[in-house]
Amino acid sequence: MSVSGSNSRALPWALVTPALAWTLAFFVLPFIAMGLSGLTAHEGGGLTLANYSQFFTDPSYWRAMVNSLEVTAIVTVISILLAYPFAWILAEQVPERWQRLALMLAVLPFWTSYVVRSYSWLLVLAQNGVINRALTGLGLIAEPLQLANTRFATVTGFVHFFVMLLTLTIFANLKQLSPSYRKAAADLGAGPVRTFLHVVLPLTLPGIMVGAFLTFVLCIGDYITPQILGGNNELVMPQLVMMQIGRRGDFPLASALSIILMAVVTVAYLACARWLKIERA
């Protein structure tokens, strides 16, 4: 690694400094600003812990965090359960030359706008939407069901998105498995079920974990899907944060709530850290 000339020490720093400076100025510094803001009083300034104590003492704020965690947990579990068999079918049952096309088709709705995709579920679930019209038309129900503006709608919108995401990570993981593992298991007398449970499933755990972590982070921080599909009946944390900015202009409280939300995500990250290393090839 010898680079001649006097610039041999300056060059590497010149390469990495712009990215580091950007991250410091527009990620670390805003984070510090948000931390300080969370410690100031909305009226009159001055240092205070009131914003944090408000979260811990006001049950409606607590409720939002509980809702967030519940929705995220439900979405993560349902998405994994739906995506795993699908990824397995794509990897094992679909002929090799059709797999790329099958996968592209499966993730096609990814390419609509995220906002529009949530809105499309509203078309399906609304009072006069497709499902209610179909069910009343068939005479199965007399009155339209309340599907939109519920937790069910939020979960459906999320699951729709994360099944696609998890299918991608699990599919990639399944394709990396060498067939010799399965052959070895078969040679040693294991049936297909046993091979799957004791060989394939443990080896695809990293793919599941990466997908589950992404699902957790994206789901718990998302404002769009709960706001469009869940409505205001049952708030989640991002809705609570946005509400402080929008209605009251209460930046300190919004900052404190954001920091609390971020702390929860950080705990999840530390729990999954060993699965998520970025390594050079």
């Binding site: 010149a14 990495v16 805003p30 706008s113 906002v115 921080g221 998302d222 900015i245 995500v265």
Partner: protein
């Protein structure tokens, strides 16, 4: 037994595809009807709402804004990401692992929190809300992505090509432009393409950091206040169509090549 599994697999796959496509099909189908509500029964094709979208200057200028922010912020992200990836992959720097961790850190933080932080900072510093502010936020989310993609593809075997160029007398900038960039082209394009996609679709940062001039997702959000609206269907279908064309284009041209 095998046949049963096959049939069950087919049924399951069809069910998942059905679930995946249901909202998109509904979206596009009811963008094509003339009534003022995008709800069943379907009353026949009409392009009325597409005309309404294309003659709405708020939407069309938001579309131009979105493209502008996406292209410029992705160029900035991929440039900063590439240079830093090269620096970290080719040179031994003190505290390298820590600094790399710092660059990739924004990947683990929600867009909402990144947007909130910038909002508080810009508010204090007196920086007005603008497309530029949103673009800065988009670089924050996409720089770590570009860095991670390009850094992960910088294998040791490429060092030898660079070394050979240096031994033959190429200056450092020449090595960069004529060897490293072409060799890394697939990763660079992948980073750029993904950044474009994320910026194009990003809502919450733009929502927090822009005011009058805004991006398409925010303008679509404003449309949603009027409830179910066939215009939203039409603009959604158009965004979908544009994205599909781009994906197919990239799939057929750039991403088909396997990284060396």
């Amino acid at each position: 037994m095998r046949a049963v599994i096959r049939i069950a697999a087919w049924l399951y796959a069809i069910a998942i595809y059905g679930f995946t496509f249901l909202p998109v099909v509904v979206l596009v189908l009811f963008s094509l009807q003339a009534t003022s509500f995008p709800i069943p029964p379907f009353t026949g094709p009409s392009l009325r709402w597409y005309q309404a979208v294309l003659s709405d200057t708020r939407l069309t200028s938001a579309l131009v804004n979105s493209l502008l922010v996406a292209v410029l912020s992705s160029l900035a992200s991929v440039t900063l990401g590439f240079l830093s990836a090269w620096g970290f992959a080719r040179f031994v720097l003190p505290g390298s692992a820590l600094l790399r961790g710092l660059i990739t850190l924004p990947l683990t933080v929600s867009y909402l929190i990144i947007g909130m932080g910038l909002l508080v900072l810009f508010n204090w510093a007196g920086v007005p809300k603008s497309l530029l502010a949103a673009g800065i936020g988009h670089v924050v989310i996409n720089l770590p992505l570009c860095f991670a993609i390009i850094y992960s593809q910088m294998g040791d075997h490429q060092i030898n090509i660079e070394r050979a160029a240096r031994d033959l007398g190429a200056a450092e900038w020449k090595v960069l432009l004529m060897i490293t960039v072409p060799v890394m082209a697939p990763a660079i394009f992948a980073g750029f393409f993904l950044s474009m996609t994320f910026s194009w679709d990003e809502f919450v940062i733009s929502f927090l950091l822009t005011r009058f001039e805004t991006t398409l997702p925010v303008e679509i959000w404003n449309l949603l206040r009027s409830g179910l609206n066939p215009k939203t269907n039409a603009v959604g279908s158009l965004v979908f169509a544009i994205s599909i064309v781009l994906v197919v284009f990239f799939e057929l041209t750039l991403l088909r090549r396997k990284p060396a």
